[in-house]
């Protein structure tokens, strides 16, 4: 599904290159659950952002479903990313001014899904995540765990093939964290590919494969 060849990311700082990622070669098959680990500053999040097409690599090749992402124009990129990828963040990143229902609806609006279909999709996901009662609440009225639940629901509502999770449990206490991890595992079992970044060994253990990064290099 994903192929990275010699991906590098660096910033030019007064003509000195500061590397974030070095010669990353990675293949991700459909249905995988990968945990990316490593100390702060090792390039985990950058890798995730490049995978999610929120950031571009400085050099190297990136193939997503056999398409060349590294040469793709911005518009196609947005299209690809909104059709196939869902994001989960440590800080949840719900839109504060929208209710739970409206937050869930937003990605569907960008995919130009019809109103009636949208309604049923949102209703289905609310039901599946057991948050029907919360649909008219605003994010600040929810606990952290509930917000992350909504964020995951929003990430998967358009049925993406790939979920990218950047420390999804980082802001939660352990019970809530566990709940979220179980949820990701069950999504993976139903066929969604998941790549998560995490600090915790426990959470990393949910993944089927662990990728360790250090100073931008993949450790073997």
């Amino acid at each position: 599904m994903i192929q990275l060849k010699n991906i590098e990311k660096y910033y030019n700082n007064k003509s000195v290159k500061t590397f974030v990622l070095r010669k990353i070669n990675l293949e991700v098959k459909e249905g995988e659950f990968i945990s990316v680990m490593g100390p702060s500053g090792s390039g985990k999040s950058t890798l995730l952002h490049i995978l999610g097409m929120l950031d571009t690599a400085s050099s190297g090749e990136y193939y997503f479903l056999d398409e060349q992402v590294h040469t793709m124009p911005e518009k196609r990129l947005t299209g690809l990313h909104k059709a196939f990828i869902g994001f989960v963040f440590q800080q949840y990143h719900l839109i504060d001014e929208l209710t739970v229902y409206e937050n869930l609806e937003t990605p569907l609006l960008y995919q130009k899904i019809k109103s009636s279909e949208r309604q049923s999709m949102v209703a289905e996901i609310l039901d599946r995540f057991n948050i029907v009662a919360k649909k008219d609440l605003f994010p600040f009225q929810l606990s952290g765990g509930q917000q992350q639940l909504v964020a995951i629901a929003r990430a998967i509502i358009a049925k993406p093939k790939l979920i990218l999770a950047d420390e999804p449990t980082g802001n939660l206490h352990s019970d809530q964290g566990k709940e979220i991890m179980e949820l990701l595992r069950s999504l993976n079992e139903k066929g969604t590919t998941i790549i998560q970044v995490t600090h915790s060994e426990d959470n990393a253990a949910y993944g089927k494969r662990i990728l360790k990064l250090r100073d931008g290099w993949i450790e073997n």
Binding site: S45, H49, G52, L54, D55, E74, K75, T78, H81, K82, A83, F87, F89, Q91, H93, L94, I95, D96, E97, L98, E102, E105, T106, P107, L109, Y110, Q111, R154, A158
Partner: protein
């Protein structure tokens, strides 16, 4: 999708109430100010357009240089109109108007003094669109001693009676028959009529006199014939008709006169451009000026721009708040153009709310604006098919202008950056500072403009005019008195009356002029002097100062052939040691020459407005009509003196109304148009500054908010409250100072230009500029420090904990 956008927009509006208020209030005030200015401009541009033939009507006026004097007068010779029609087939009709200062008219017991009185040709109604209610426009003014009244006047004299064929008596007792009633005069006309009397009544006959100018001549050209085409033929026309008379008068042929610099021309003004573009002498009414239309348009645009800039600045300053949403939306699949659309939709929504608020503001403040501008403007959103689309267009345009920069700025955020919280809100701060500098530069220009206008108006009102116009009551129509001297003596017996003098004219009014030459020169050169006629006490009553010689006196019987000149006249005539010398008023033949002995020279005084240089003036003894009786009221009880004078009048002429004005009021009317524009200018300058400050206030709030943590740390490290206020105000101070540098040259250019309207003017010295700088800085600092102090006195612990 759009519903989603609107929902977010509305929730954002409600969530940040202060910010929304600043934005909406600023825009609403800006738009309301713009709407009022537009109404004003629309009205000014509509002058005389109600005439069906508006585009074919021209006024022919006289320009040139006669006997060394420039003449630019709105009037023209009596036979002009008729001759033009006879001579040129493209001139289809003409009419003449001659105003009468006032006319006392009587019908039974109703006696009124009518100010808006005109003698007019019977063709008047073929030229101007003056709808008849009763009577026949074809014949109404055809006969001598006929009049046409407006509805209003008909009602005043005749109540509910039918006015047609009723007889009214003019002051001299002549009966005039009412032959028509017309609709009231529209406000947007360059002259305002109440009553027309047939010119035929004046019994002028066919006076083919081409050098005397006392009629306003209007002609109608054939449709599609440009005025310039006829104007090109007029030089030959002048030569043909006026040439022979000029030879008679000046003793040289038309062509020879032209060689020596004499010019005599007729020029054509399109009717619709008179109100804004005509600034001749002897206008029917003081006209407005196209310059003011430009100035007000610019002010309108600037006010709107300032309000739009507020919106841009506040939106981009708040980008930190919105950036997270932008990041999330991009992650969720939004592309840039969708975000641009969203933010534009938001600014359009905000503008829509502002426009609705602006409409309300206009409804509330239009009456005050009307009384300020002396207009009768009104809004009609539903009667005018353009009004609603124009408002919608305004919403879209203003929304797009105000929203464009923020939309592109916000939508270009990289999701990775904003979601990591790396955005520090300094984005676009360079542009933001630039826009604030721009806002303040405009405001300072307006400030300086206001100061200069007020400085000049104060100057013209306080400048010593060479005579004392305070406490002078002027009785008009003094000719009604049969025993003038007895009346005057009665007044002077009262100790409160310091002086009185019968005159044919008073300072501040239009002065006639006559040709003279000094005695004993062989040169044919003649000079034009403004002339007036007074009795012995004029100099004393007006407190005029003599330079040399004396004023008229009763002891000198020969004074009936004496003249008192002003210094400018002496200089023009080139007479040295003038007292005892003579000047000649040339007649048609040498035998008809009249010579006057110069008995005194007055120091120059401003008998006309300060717009003009002091003209050469000659004063003669009791030669003209005694139209006015200026009475100087001495110290003490003015009201009592007025009622004393009135009671005397009643005693002498019980059947004529007592009418008077105060000379200082009358003289100040010369600056009415400047006064009015000055006031409007001030109001909008204040508004502009207010809106700019509103924006500054919001911006300062956000800057302070952004630096809360920094300020907390500084306080923990020992910074004092004043130190922090200075820290936060420093940036804004810099901007305002920079704005001054931009504003000063602009303001200097505009204001010296405006001051050219006055022959006597102030010098806009550095004081005014400095004052504007201090005022702007002071206002800006108050605005900013309000926020700065709030932050500076806050407990640093709270600020640091919030991180």
């Amino acid at each position: 999708m759009i519903r989603n956008y609107m929902k977010i927009a509305l929730r954002n509006l409600l969530k940040f109430k202060a910010y929304s208020f600043i934005n909406i209030a600023g825009l609403a005030i800006g738009i309301a100010a713009c709407m009022m200015i537009l109404l004003y401009i629309k009205d000014e541009l509509s002058y005389d357009r109600f005439n069906e033939k508006a585009d074919q009507i021209y006024r022919v006026h006289t320009m040139g240089k006669l006997a060394g004097n420039e003449i630019n007068i709105a009037v023209s010779p009596p036979p002009l109109g008729e001759t033009l029609v006879r001579e040129y087939p493209e001139v289809v009709q003409y009419t003449r108007l001659m105003p009468n200062t006032t006319m006392l008219i009587r019908y039974k017991d109703n006696v009124f003094n009518e100010a808006n009185f005109f003698w007019a040709d019977s063709t008047l109604f073929d030229v101007f669109t003056i709808p008849f209610i009763k009577g026949d426009p074809k014949t109404a003014l055809a006969q001598p001693h006929t009049v046409v009244l407006t509805e209003k006047l008909a009602k005043k004299y005749f109540g509910n009676e039918d006015p047609i064929d009723k007889i009214m008596n003019f002051e001299d007792g002549t009966p005039y028959t009412v032959k028509g009633v017309v609709k009231n005069c529209p406000a947007n006309a360059h002259f305002h009529y109440e009553i027309f009397a047939s010119i035929a009544s004046l019994g002028l006959g066919d006076t083919p006199f081409w050098i005397a100018n006392n009629f306003f001549t209007y002609i109608v050209l054939k449709k599609g014939v440009p005025g310039s085409q006829l104007e090109a033929k007029l030089p030959d026309f002048v030569k043909k008709y006026a040439g022979p008379q000029m030879r008679e008068l000046f003793g040289a042929s038309y062509d020879d006169l032209r060689k020596t610099g004499t010019r005599y021309e007729f020029q054509m003004q399109p009717l619709t451009s008179i109100h804004l573009n005509s600034h001749l002498d002897y206008e029917l009414e003081p006209n407005s000026d196209i310059k003011y239309i430009y100035i007000f348009s610019i002010i309108a645009v600037f006010i709107l721009l300032i309000a739009c800039i507020n919106f841009m600045n506040l939106s981009t300053a708040r980008s930190v708040i919105r950036s997270k949403e932008v990041g999330i939306r991009k992650v969720l699949g939004s592309n840039k153009s969708q975000l641009v659309k969203q933010f534009l939709a938001e600014s359009i929504l905000l503008t829509l709310i502002s426009v609705i608020a602006a409409i309300a503001l206009v409804e509330i403040f239009l009456p005050s604006f009307n009384s300020l501008a002396g207009k009768e403007l009104y809004t009609s959103y539903f009667n005018n098919f353009l009004a609603i689309p124009a408002l919608i267009a305004a919403v879209l345009i203003v929304g797009l202008i105000a929203g464009s920069y923020p939309a592109f700025f916000l939508s270009s955020f990289k999701p990775v950056t904003v979601l990591k919280g790396k955005l520090n809100g300094s984005g676009g701060s360079w542009l933001r500072s630039g826009l604030v500098v721009f806002q303040f530069a405009i405001s300072i220009v307006l400030f300086i403009g206001t100061f200069v206008v007020y400085g000049q108006l104060k100057y013209v009102q306080q400048k010593s005019l060479g005579f004392d116009r305070d406490h002078v009551l002027v009785i008009t129509r003094a000719w009604a008195l049969e025993k003038q001297n007895t009346f005057k003596n009665e007044l002077l017996n009262n100790t409160h009356i310091a002086g009185a003098s019968f005159t044919d004219n008073i300072p501040g009014r239009n002065f006639g002029q006559t040709v003279f030459k000094p005695e004993g020169t062989s040169s044919p050169q003649q000079y034009i002097l403004a002339v007036m006629s007074t009795d012995y006490d004029f100099a004393k009553t007006m407190k005029l100062k003599l330079s040399i010689g004396r004023f008229f006196s009763k002891e000198n019987i020969t004074d009936s052939l004496a003249v008192v000149l002003n210094e400018s006249a002496v200089k023009l005539l080139g007479i040295t040691d003038p007292v005892g010398k003579r000047i000649i008023s040339p007649g048609r033949t040498a035998e008809q020459n009249v010579s006057y002995t110069i008995v005194g020279v007055l120091k120059d005084f401003h008998f006309e407005s300060l717009h003009q240089k002091i003209r050469p003036l000659g004063i003669f003894l009791n030669r003209g009509l005694t139209a006015y009786l200026p009475v100087r009221i001495g110290a003490g009880d003015v009201t009592g003196s007025v009622s004393f004078i009135e009671s005397q009048w009643k005693k002498f002429v019980p059947d004529k109304p007592f009418e008077y004005f105060f000379m200082d009021d009358d003289y100040n009317k010369l600056y009415q148009s400047e006064q009015k524009t000055g006031e409007i200018f001030t109001v909008f300058s204040v508004l502009a500054i207010f809106i700019a400050c509103l924006g500054l206030f919001g911006l300062a709030a956000f800057t302070a908010e952004r630096r809360t943590k920094e300020i907390g740390i500084r306080k923990v490290l020992g910074a004092s409250t004043p130190g922090i206020v200075i820290l936060l105000s420093r940036e804004f101070t810099k901007w305002v100072l920079l704005a001054n540098l931009i504003a000063w040259p602009l303001a200097y250019y505009f204001m010296t230009n405006w001051l050219q309207n006055f022959a006597y003017r102030i010098d806009p010295g550095p004081g005014i500029f400095f004052l504007a700088a201090v005022a702007a800085l002071f206002i800006a600092l108050i605005t900013v420090s309000f926020q700065a102090i709030k932050v500076a006195v806050a407990n640093p612990v709270g600020a640091l904990r919030s991180e």
